[in-house]
Symmetry: C2
Subunit: 418 residues, 2 copies
């Protein structure tokens, strides 16, 4: 039946729409950190960050069902939902980040963020890191070197080397922060001399798609200084690290001690309901709002706001940020007890962890693929990341427990033995 | 309380985020064609097309609540929901339009459609009509002359005159279809000689944002020929006219008897849940999918598909396409009995109707604004459209009844008298 479904899927969705795994998982049910396939088989979910507070969390489901039955309309009418939610959300940020645009996807959020930088600076040059992914709109696809845009890169885009644990920018871990900032300065100079000028720099504060490198807490300070000295807008994409994923702090940039001008949010924001947002300084919001009459039909509708607010409730009520810190540190500790010659690095913070695999000094993509398949076949869902797809990515729903950690590590240990 | 809320809204959303009406409507509840404000006041909704099958339709609400409690995840796992929905959806189209990408907003859908045209032709030139609106991403904002993009228009964009009832392209109603096609040909020639080449033409088949002009059923035939002869992709934006809005046919392009290569869908698709889609010919889908590894985290998730499928159910079960035709023709007939010297045209099909207001041969925006405010103050929600904002727009949820028509026309009649 699943193979029939796969064939029907290809017929109606077209080619090159991959599923995960050699034999795709046909899911029918989710609850907390668990999902079930159509054969009734149960999997521990150590991959999905979108169901942030757990699959089908009843508090979020009830909020969606209740509001959907009451009213769902756009934001050209007054509604208390968007106002209350945005007030709660901005209270989680540094005081200058006090205004919000609600949208439907991280792609829409980043697409706006780029225009905010352009509107406020009057310049067009944008800099991103070199193996990132910030979304799928035409404009945002220019930021990704993993998915080059149709028609090639626009002339106002520059990519700089992302930080790396095993192969640091500039050659040494100690010098990486300064070398990274120097590359940024070089790209700014290049944009200036090409006539585009520098409007902004966008990065994920954990460089998640580039392999979640180990970073000292002051890593971004030199880069931040370079951006601000050049009059550019610092955009931080919190789509992956946001909402406490890393434990300890609500945001990735907060842990780094930097002050972005614009922050984008997405995936985990409403536990899977299509909600995303841009949070910005008031001056920047005003420039954007005056330059472009932005309106998003679905963005900020009462149901989306109810889903997002309920997700915030659960993070707070279940103390999930602190929980991620505690369980994450146990998880990282346990990962250190997994023994295999090809594990070149074990790292991460909170419930976002990585194992980088190398054999004979070269990225071992095949081993990483093998481990992911083995895990899938033994009841554990996980993924891979990094430019060489050789980094195992562990990023479970936030209620992941120490017991779940033990089970995940047992399966991982067995996978490396097999 | 509503004025406090408006102030809090401005503080947290920023400037230039307008609400409708001089005194915004503070909505708290919706049901069918009715909405209620925070003072318990009831309004007949003759504006909102997003709650297509009626505000808070219980079948759609139940589908959302049930699926949200069961599983909500992305499309890298197999799930029957997206496959079954896309099969049902493509069955509503001409046979060659047989593959789908599901996304979260009409903007995302149109952003993809433009890239499909570019991927399949290897060219970049795009043509749109001159007062349209196809969404809010950076790329799509170039199509709108109502909301010019930040940084000005890209050199590969051309705008041609949209058809018009009172001031036809080319000067006469009879010659409008040919004159429109000639403008299109001139724009294609211009893109070719500028070196961009012609990739595609995008239009709303009802030209809804340009005032919903009266069109003969063969209006688009000459333009279609021009696009196909030049090797371009014909993109039809069904975000407003789709899902039977015009009565008689499911799609605006179907009524016009044309064969688009790509169709985009949005607003009404899931009755307010953030769902949109691109439907395309398989060859075009393949070119796009091979040129760009598109993935949308929220697009096509099980809850979105359940919401969209339930909306299809209701359209079919309540026979809403035929209903829109019948009630729409009564509505248009009743509009003809509203008497005022400034009503220069009464037009539309199904449940999408327009009254164009002119005084002394000039667009009367002030009168249109007055009528809309009067209606709001007397329990009827409606809007304005067109390049001069002088066209009253009547576009209610599809279950609008003959009784609702009578009430709406009474209020309109009184508004014109006042």
């Amino acid at each position: 039946m699943s193979s029939d479904l796969a064939a029907r899927r290809t017929a109606v969705l077209g080619p090159n729409v991959p599923t995960f795994y050699e034999t795709p998982v046909h899911l029918v049910k989710g609850e907390g950190v668990w999902v079930w396939d159509s054969d009734g088989r149960k999997y521990l979910d150590c991959y999905n960050n979108v169901p942030h507070v757990g699959h089908c969390h009843p508090h979020v489901v009830t909020a969606i069902a209740t509001q959907a039955a009451k009213l769902n309309t756009h934001t050209r009418y007054l509604h208390v939902g968007i106002v209350e939610y945005c007030e709660r959300l901005t209270a989680k940020f540094q005081t200058q980040l006090d205004q919000v645009i609600m949208v439907c996807s991280g792609s829409e959020a980043n697409d706006i963020a780029l225009r905010m930088a352009q509107a406020v600076t009057g310049k067009t040059g944008i800099i991103a890191t070199d193996n990132t992914y910030h979304g799928n709109t035409m404009a945002v696809s220019h930021l990704s070197s993993r998915k080059p845009p149709i028609g090639g890169y626009a002339s106002n885009i520059r990519h700089i080397s992302a930080p790396d644990t095993l192969r640091p920018v500039g050659g040494t871990a100690d010098g990486q922060a300064v070398a990274f900032a120097q590359e940024l300065q070089t790209a700014i100079d290049d944009l200036e001399s090409a006539g585009h000028g520098f409007s902004g720099f966008i990065c994920c504060p954990t460089f998640a798609n580039e392999g979640l490198p180990d970073l000292p807490q002051d890593f971004m300070k030199p880069a931040e200084q370079v951006v601000k000295a050049a009059g550019g807008v610092l955009i931080v994409d919190e789509v992956q690290p946001g909402f406490g994923r890393g434990g300890e702090t609500w945001w990735g940039h907060e842990w780094l001690g930097i002050s972005p001008d614009v922050v984008t949010l997405g995936k985990p924001m409403a536990n899977g309901h299509p909600v995303a947002a841009v949070v910005a300084r008031a001056e920047i919001m005003a420039e954007f709002r005056n330059a472009f009459g932005y309106f998003n039909t679905f963005g900020g509708n009462p149901v989306s706001c109810a889903a997002a607010a309920a997700t915030l409730d659960v993070i707070e009520q279940e103390n999930l940020v602190n929980h991620a810190k505690n369980v994450g540190s146990v998880f990282l500790h346990e990962l250190h007890s997994i023994d295999h010659d090809s594990i070149a690095s074990r790292r991460g913070r909170g419930l976002f962890l990585a194992l980088e695999l190398e054999t004979d000094g070269a990225a071992d993509e095949a081993l990483a693929a093998h481990v992911v398949e083995y895990a899938r076949n033994h009841g554990l869902l996980m993924g891979r990341t990094g430019r060489n797809r050789n980094i195992l990515k562990l990023r479970p729903p936030m209620p992941f427990s120490n017991e779940n950690v033990a089970m995940a590590c047992d399966i991982l240990q067995a996978a490396f033995k097999a």
